[in-house]
Amino acid sequence: MIELTINGNTSEYEEGSSLFECIQSAGIQIPTLCYHKALSPYGACRLCLVEVQPEGRNPSIQASCSYPASDGLVVQTDSERVKRARRIVAELLLARCPDSEVIQRIAHEHGVEEPRIKKKNDDCIYCGLCERICHERMGRVAVGFSGRGPRKTIEPPFGKHNAMCWSCGACNFVCPVGRKVSDLTSANALIPLPNTYNMGLDQKPAIHIMYPQAVPNTPAIDKDSCVHLNYEGCKICQEMCEADAIDYDQTEETVELAVGAIILSPGFELFDPTAEEKLGYGVYPNVITSLEFERILSASGPFSGKVLRPFDLTTPKRIAFLQCVGSRDHERDYCSAVCCMYATKEAIIAKEHVGEDLDCDIFFMDMRAFSKGFDEYYQRAKDSGVNYIRCRIPVIEEITDTKNLLITYLTENDRKVSSEYDLVVLSVGMLPPKSASDLAEKLGIDLNEFNFCRTSLFRPVTSNREGIFVSGPFTEPKDIPETVMQASGAAANVLSLLKDARGSLIAPKEYPAELNVEGQEPRIGVFICHCGTNIAGVVNVPEVVEYTRTLPDVVFVDNNLYTCSNDTQELIKEKIKEHNLNRVVVASCTPRTHEPLFRSTIREAGLNPYLFEMANIRDQCSWVHMHQPERATEKSKDLVRMAVAKAKLLEPLQTRSIPVNKSALVIGGGLSGMTSAIEIAEQGFEVHLVEKEQELGGNLRRIQYMLNGEKPQDELKELAEKVKSADKINLYTGAQIESIEGSVGNFKTKLSNNGESKEVEHGVVIVATGAKEYIPQEYLYGQDERVLTQIELEQRLIQNGDWTSTAAKDNPKTVVMIQCVGSRDDERPYCSRICCTESVKNALKIKEKSPDTRVYILYRDVRTYGFREKYYSEAREKDIVFIRYDEESKPKVSANGEELVVEVLDQTLGISIELAADLLILSAGIVPSEGNEAIAQFLKVPLDSNGFFLEAHMKLRPIDFATDGVFLCGLAHFSKAVEESIIQAQAASSRAATILSKDSIELEATISEVIDANCDGCAYCIEPCPYNALTLIEYMRNGVVKKTVQANESACKGCGCCQATCPKQGIIIRGFKLDQITAQVNAALGAA
């Protein structure tokens, strides 16, 4: 070690360092343009000038990067002489490169706005970084200096493009003034690494983090483009990484695992529209895919959320979306099920980003808004000006000079129309994953005709091979909620199969007994992290350390290169013991990623984990104030002071745990309820299954056949048998729920079972109350016996004899079906999802029984999503006639003597058609159960505006309620097909198992607490609580009635809406108490 005195402070430094490195390690920032840690010093830019005085000699101005540090040097980095010298350097640089923004900024920082000498308009400052990186790190000499004095220039050998250059781009990367040096050395374009996350719309370096939210959030090297892995040069990232985390020797490993079950979720492949030449994708730059547009709209996308077209980065004024690209065609006779809604969403978001004036036209065949809330969303899109154009497949041409696109299409009534657009978005469909065939071969599973995994309707998450389960779009194109449900459903099957092995791989962590800190004065230890140079490169950490020592109650301060490293955890534990610390503050990165680690560390030292606080001086300070080191240092001091102020007031908190009653209540004995009950029982838990009717089965009892030939009544029989014979299922038919009390882990339910009262205890609830067919009030239903609903028709079609109307004895000549009866209207604005498929199913059955019967289906949109599409195609092939009507002109039905007449305005032909029907079939929608409201009140869970149960999150938590321990499945959630009900029911059982498999539930510690002394029972807090966790109670205190609020600890999630509502601090959130936050506010103002 050597001793240097820098700006009056004498310290020890590493021998062999340059002066520049010593100054940096002292936390002092000095400017430089030509220094690079990985390269030899060159002393070219002269910005790092300092005043150096060797012992016994006069001080002189030297470039610190090329001046070796030696013992006893006295250095000044900011004397007047240094500043003057640097100002002259900055002025010279500005005169040479007046257009460089970097140089302008440096000149400005040195007080130079305009050079006094003649400007040269050069684009090079001759720092030699490009030459050094090429030669020293890449082992090449593709660029270097030539000429001398004023003729000195940067050139490739012989001034020509040459084979020496690998087109690695390192020269461009290091150039401080942003010159594209590689243009000199090679004609080859750099091989940029397309950022696959942003669909190749921007580039990423050879070492990168996949995307901002990637898990794990660590960088990886792209082995195909890394210079080191391909040519053995470079290795710069290894040198720069102070944590020593770069390992070039890592190779792919083959790992062998012994498992009891496999879940396949390989996802889907996006259709590549280059295959459809007429669309011009890949040829016309302003034709992009919907996923590319999705990334363009994203804040973390290539243009930071600005809506720009990729060709010229201008904001489009007119966007066209083309639906069904790669779906519903000859090759792929299925619907991708998600494109209608994502196009609608993208159009709405684009309008939000660009403004009302943006025109969004969506060219489509049928708008398939069939899921919960989708039709309402579609309506909203129309109201906000998104334009839907129903047409045959349009033709795209490019307009050469503007690169705009001309779309020509035939309207429904065969009129030819052309419109010009700035951008065309192709709504590309889902293909099976590329790996499908390979997986099928290796694992011995069956694929269907489209190469998706084959499953059956009644076993929708199982492959044909035992123990192999499937989920996600691998089985059929589907949206996020359906994918989430199916994944949970697959998990349920595995839980049943492997129930004996449950928990066998878990080793609980042991902690020492907790120290009692009650009544102790705060003794705070503060650990301040350098995070390599991430923090210390901007914030003056030693200064923050010194400042922190002055704060009251702080008894120990340390700084660490990486506070999160393993050895620092040991150090923290040591220091807690050595200094009797009873609070710990870490100033480093974000508590969102690192608080659990540090809490665990202090717990290992015997401290309560809640006696910990963090100051975020990296993500929210050094990284966002990189050019303002002094102010970042001041801010860091403030942030540490605020954290210390809160730490002082922290209290030890205990996580309370409550025992779990390991049984479930399933409400509803239809397909969903029975499936859930069986799955839970098979996982080894007890079930109470409550059905209001005398018989099990619900709606399934009336489903007689399936499109693919599976036999629902056989399945029903088998299910009911299983339910009745299962030891673990207690079945209550003809039973009503009288009340439900309690919360997750411990519910108590009163039943009346055929007049008998009964009480059951259980840990979870599954709501499977189902729904029912709408009873039509229109189209002569109930007045004319020839008018039936689809379900009624289905019952008749299964009888072998007479399925016709009672009056006629021959097979009917004409059957007319009307879609959307009781759906998609003002009263019920939702689509009932299953009726289109149901009518196709029954129409095909009619054709099977009586090929000569003419079947007309009057529809608004045919919503045969997913693989149901092929049956729609089959129906058209069998001459079933589809006639589209509009909501504004609904069909009219009249009984004209013997004849039943249906009059409809055909939207395609534009004329009114009269059909004489022997049978009129109404596709009546699905309406929620009447009992839903009572159940919702018992469980304190919400219903949506249509009366279905409202899940915790429409996309990500489709089976859960916001209330813990209560789950949802089947038609109670929303109308759905048989296989979808089974999936959701299985999913609900695996969600239930997350609670039932535990002996006790740990409750969150940072939750509400009523301060009885402050609470006067005003009850203001009760309504704002999103979890209904608060109740007003009365009790006798000192002979008078005292009103107060009681918090249900197992329902409270700690959001703090109560705390913010209380005028008297009568209710607080532990760990975020008002006085703790106030202390942070005061500390922000400077109070220690």
Binding site: G305, V624, R631, P1026, Y1027, G1056, I1077
Partner: protein, 135 residues
């Protein structure tokens, strides 16, 4: 030149969205002025109006409250509670003789690093224009 006024602004950020958005601004190295002091709360619905008023009357120059976008709240609708409280706060500002621009409510999601940086820049500019808190 006299020293430029550098306001001190407190940002209450909810743990799930806007605090994460602030972190993402950092990860993306998006620069914004160092006048903001972030206080992490679990939900924007946790911020008591008194905290805002107290901060502003003790000399903090501006307060910004950030939560999840409507519909994205981790606690169902704590952010909507915050929104209705914000209206009350605005009324209180008037009573205390404070300009309404000194308080602002913003929805910032975990993926909106650029928005976070932008909103903070705007807030600092606004407060610089207003000048120091009268308190």
């Amino acid at each position: 030149m006299s020293e430029e006024f550098e306001p001190k602004i407190i940002a209450f950020c909810c743990n799930w969205c806007s605090y994460a958005g602030a972190d993402l601004a950092g990860v993306s190295r998006l620069q914004y002025p160092p006048n903001i002091r972030i206080i992490r709360v679990m939900c924007s619905g946790m911020v008591h109006p008194n905290l805002v008023i107290e901060a502003l009357t003790k000399g903090i120059d501006g307060v910004i409250m950030c939560g999840c976008h409507p519909g994205d709240c981790h606690y169902i609708e704590g952010n909507l509670k915050a929104e209705s409280r914000a209206e009350a706060i605005e009324l209180m500002l008037e009573d205390f003789g404070l300009e309404e621009e000194r308080f602002r409510l913003e929805w910032i999601s975990a993926s909106e690093g650029p928005q976070f940086a932008q909103v903070m820049k705007e807030m600092v500019d606004t407060i610089k224009e207003l000048g120091p808190s009268p308190y």
